[in-house]
C-alpha cells in the first residue's frame, strides 16, 4: 500500500510533470499536496478580503454616528465578513489545507482514499465561494441577516438571502466530501504497522473533525433548503401565523453550527499537539488523553447547541440542561491545555516562530474558553448575550484559536511544503506584532460588552468610544502585521534559503522524507514508531 520497494528517482511534487500543463496542472491535480495548496491560496485570498471588511467596520466604529458608511451598508458588511470568515475561511481552513497536505503523509499513505473526489471537493468549494461573492454583488444588495440567517427576518428581507444560503449549501457539500474522504483514508490507508494509537495527534484531530463534517453538515444543508422554501413558497416551517416555530430555525441552525466550531478548533488543537513536542524535544504528555479527548469533544459537542438560545424563549428545562452539557464539554478541552503545559515542563525549549504562535494560541484560547463559560452559564449569558462581549469571545476562540494555529502550522510546515525557509527573525517579530494588535482590537470589546455595547450596531453611546478607538488602532496594527506576515512567507517561498529535510528535529513521518515531498511521498522504506513522539 504505502511502501515502495525499489528506489525511485526523487522528483518533488512541485516539479512533477503530469499530463496537464500550466494552470491546468493545478486545477486538474489529484495530488493531495497540490489540492492542499489550492485550498490555501483560495482561503488566503478570502481571508485578506474578510480582514479588510473587518477593518472597514472598525473604521466606522471609531466614532459614534455615521463615519464612513450608512447603517444598511454596515449590516451588509458584517454579514459578508461573517459568511466569508466562517464558511470560506475557518471551516475549511485547517482541515482542507493541512489535512489534505499532511494527513496522508503523517499516516504513511501515498494519497487520500479518493483523490478525484478530493479534487471535486475543491471545485465545489470554489463554485460555492463564487456564489457567495455573487450574493454580494447582485442587484438586491448583500444579505443583511448576519451569517446566522435567523428566521423570521431572513424569510422576509429583500436582500440576496437565497443566493447566500445556496452558497453555504454548496460549500457544505465540499466539507462533507472532505470529511468522508478523510475518514476512509484513516481507516483504510494507514501504512502497515501504523495502528490507530501509533498515529500522530494531528490525524487524530482530523479524524474527529471529519466525523463532525460528515454528520453535522447535512443538517445545515436541509435547514437552508427549508429557509429557501419558506421564502419562495411560504410553507410555514418558521412562521407562527402558519403554525410554524421561529425557534425551530435556531435549533436546526445551531445543531450544525455549534459542532462546526469544533470543525474549526479540533484541527487547531491537533496542530498545536504536533508543534509542542517538536520544539520542546519531549514526548507529548498524555498521548492517549489528547487523542481521545478529540473524540470526546466531537461527541459531546453535538449536544450543547442550545447555549446559543438561552434568551430566545426556550423552555426553562432545556436551558439548564444545555448549560450543564456546555460545562461538561469544557473538560476535554482543558485536558488538552494541561497536557500541552505538562509537555513543556522541563523540555529543552527552542523558541522558533511556530512555537511562539503555539504559545500565543494557548494564551488566547484560554481567554476565549473561560469567557465561553461565562456565556455558557444561563444567568451570566442573559446579561451579555448579543453584546460585543460575544464578539470578543468568538474572535478569541476562532481567530485567536484557529487563526493563530493556522499561522503556527504554516510557519511549522512551510519548509516541508516548499523546501525553503522564511526569515525567522522577522517571523518572530511579526508574530508579536499580530499578538499585540489582536489583543488591543478585541480585549476592550469584553469590557464595553459587559457595560452593554450591543453587537451588530454601527452606532453607540459616547461612553463606549474610548474602547472603540483602542480597538480600531489594534485593528490597524493587526491587519498591517498580517500583511507583513504573508509577504514574509511569500518571500521565503520564492527566495528563502533552501531548507533541510528536518529543520526542527521533528520526529513524525513528514520529517523523514525530502522537502518538498515527492509525488507519492514515500519512495523509500519508512520506519513506523510505536509512539510518534519518541524524543527521550
Amino acid at each position: 500500500m504505502s511502501k515502495a520497494t525499489e528506489k525511485i528517482e526523487y522528483v518533488s511534487y512541485l516539479d512533477h510533470q503530469s499530463k496537464y500543463k500550466g494552470i491546468f496542472a493545478w486545477i486538474f491535480a489529484t495530488d493531495h499536496k497540490r489540492i492542499g495548496l489550492l485550498y490555501m491560496y483560495a482561503i488566503a485570498a478570502f481571508f485578506v478580503i474578510g480582514a479588510f471588511l473587518g477593518l472597514a467596520m472598525r473604521i466606522e466604529l471609531i466614532a459614534p454616528g455615521e463615519t464612513i458608511m450608512k447603517p444598511q451598508t454596515y449590516n451588509g458588511i458584517f454579514t459578508v465578513h461573517g459568511i466569508i470568515m466562517i464558511f470560506m475561511v475557518v471551516i475549511p481552513g485547517l482541515s482542507a489545507v493541512f489535512g489534505n497536505f499532511f494527513l496522508p503523509i503523517l499516516i504513511g499513505a501515498k494519497d487520500v482514499a479518493f483523490p478525484k473526489l478530493n479534487r471535486f471537493s475543491w471545485w465545489i468549494f470554489m463554485v460555492g465561494s463564487a456564489m457567495a461573492v455573487a450574493s454580494q454583488l447582485l442587484k438586491s444588495g448583500p444579505p443583511d441577516t448576519g451569517w446566522t440567517f435567523y428566521a423570521p427576518y431572513s424569510t422576509t428581507t429583500g436582500t440576496n438571502v437565497i443566493m447566500a444560503t445556496t452558497a453555504a449549501f454548496v460549500l457544505g457539500f465540499s466539507s462533507i466530501l472532505t470529511g468522508l474522504n478523510f475518514i476512509v483514508t484513516i481507516h483504510q490507508m494507514r501504512a502497515p504497522g501504523m495502528k490507530f494509537f501509533n498515529m500522530p495527534l494531528f490525524p487524530w484531530a482530523i479524524y474527529a473533525t471529519a466525523w463532525i463534517q460528515l454528520l453535522a453538515t447535512p443538517i445545515i444543508g436541509i435547514t437552508l433548503v427549508m429557509l429557501i422554501a419558506e421564502r419562495l413558497f411560504g410553507i410555514g416551517f418558521f412562521d407562527p401565523a402558519l403554525g410554524g416555530d421561529p425557534l425551530l430555525y435556531q435549533h436546526l441552525f445551531w445543531i450544525y453550527s455549534h459542532p462546526a466550531v469544533y470543525v474549526m478548533i479540533l484541527p487547531a488543537m491537533g496542530v498545536i499537539s504536533e508543534i509542542i513536542p517538536t520544539f520542546c524535544q519531549r514526548k507529548i504528555y498524555g498521548y492517549k488523553a489528547i487523542a481521545l479527548s478529540s473524540l470526546a469533544i466531537a461527541g459531546v459537542g453535538f449536544l450543547v447547541w442550545g447555549h446559543h438560545m438561552y434568551t430566545s424563549g426556550m423552555s426553562e428545562n432545556a436551558r439548564w440542561f444545555f448549560s450543564l452539557l456546555t460545562f461538561i464539554v469544557a473538560v476535554p478541552s482543558a485536558i488538552k491545555v494541561f497536557n500541552w503545559l505538562a509537555t513543556m515542563y522541563k523540555g529543552s525549549i527552542d523558541m522558533q516562530p511556530p512555537f511562539l504562535y503555539a504559545l500565543e494560541f494557548i494564551f488566547l484560547f484560554i481567554i476565549g474558553g473561560t469567557t465561553g463559560l461565562i456565556l455558557g452559564s444561563v444567568a451570566t449569558d442573559v446579561q451579555v448575550h448579543d453584546t460585543s462581549f460575544v464578539v470578543a469571545h468568538f474572535h478569541y476562540i476562532i481567530f485567536g484559536g484557529m487563526g493563530f494555529a493556522f499561522f503556527a502550522a504554516i510557519h511549522y510546515w512551510l519548509p516541508k511544503m516548499y523546501g525553503r525557509m522564511y526569515n525567522l527573525k522577522r517571523a518572530k517579530i511579526l508574530s508579536v506584532v499580530i499578538f499585540v494588535g489582536f489583543n488591543l482590537l478585541y480585549f476592550p470589546q469584553f469590557i464595553i460588552g459587559i457595560q452593554g455595547m450591543p453587537r451588530r450596531y454601527y452606532d453607540y453611546l459616547p461612553q463606549f468610544q474610548w474602547a472603540q478607538v483602542i480597538s480600531t488602532i489594534g485593528g490597524f496594527i493587526l491587519v498591517a502585521g498580517l500583511l507583513a506576515m504573508i509577504s514574509n512567507l511569500i518571500m521565503g517561498v520564492r527566495k528563502g534559503e533552501i531548507a533541510p529535510a528536518n529543520p526542527w528535529q521533528g520526529s513524525t513521518l513528514e520529517w523523514q522524507i525530502p522537502s518538498p515531498p515527492s509525488l507519492e511521498n514515500f519512495d523509500e522504506e519508512i520506519e513506523i514508531k510505536e509512539n510518534p513522539y519518541d524524543y527521550k
Binding site: 435549533h251 453535538f302 423552555s315 428545562n317
Partner: protein
C-alpha cells in the same frame, strides 16, 4: 470495503427484500384508512424505520460488513436519536 469485496448478495435475497419493502409501502398507505389518533405518526415512522433498516442491511450491505463499521453506523443513529430527544426537552416544557 477491502475485507468484503468477495461477498455478492444473491439476487434471490435482494428480490425478497424488494417484495417486503413494497409490501411495507402498501402497509403505510393502508394504515392511513384507520384512525389511530395520536399514534398515526408513530406507526408511520415505525414502518419507515423498519424499511430503512432493511435497505441499510441488505441493499447497502451493512449486514455483511465488519463489526466496527456496523457499530459506527449504529452510533450515528444513536446520536440522531439523542439530538431529537434533547430538542424535545425544549418543546415538551415550553
Amino acid at each position: 470495503m477491502a475485507n468484503n469485496t468477495s461477498h455478492t448478495t444473491e439476487y434471490k435475497v435482494l428480490g425478497r427484500i424488494l417484495v417486503l419493502l413494497m409490501f411495507m409501502t402498501f402497509l403505510t398507505i393502508s394504515v392511513t384508512s384507520f384512525n389511530l389518533g395520536a399514534f398515526s405518526v408513530t406507526v408511520a415512522l415505525l414502518i419507515a424505520c423498519f424499511k430503512a433498516f432493511m435497505v441499510l442491511s441488505y441493499f447497502m450491505h451493512l449486514k455483511y460488513e465488519s463489526l466496527l463499521l456496523r457499530i459506527l453506523v449504529g452510533m450515528v443513529f444513536v446520536l440522531f436519536a439523542v439530538i431529537v430527544l434533547i430538542t424535545f426537552i425544549d418543546y415538551a416544557y415550553r
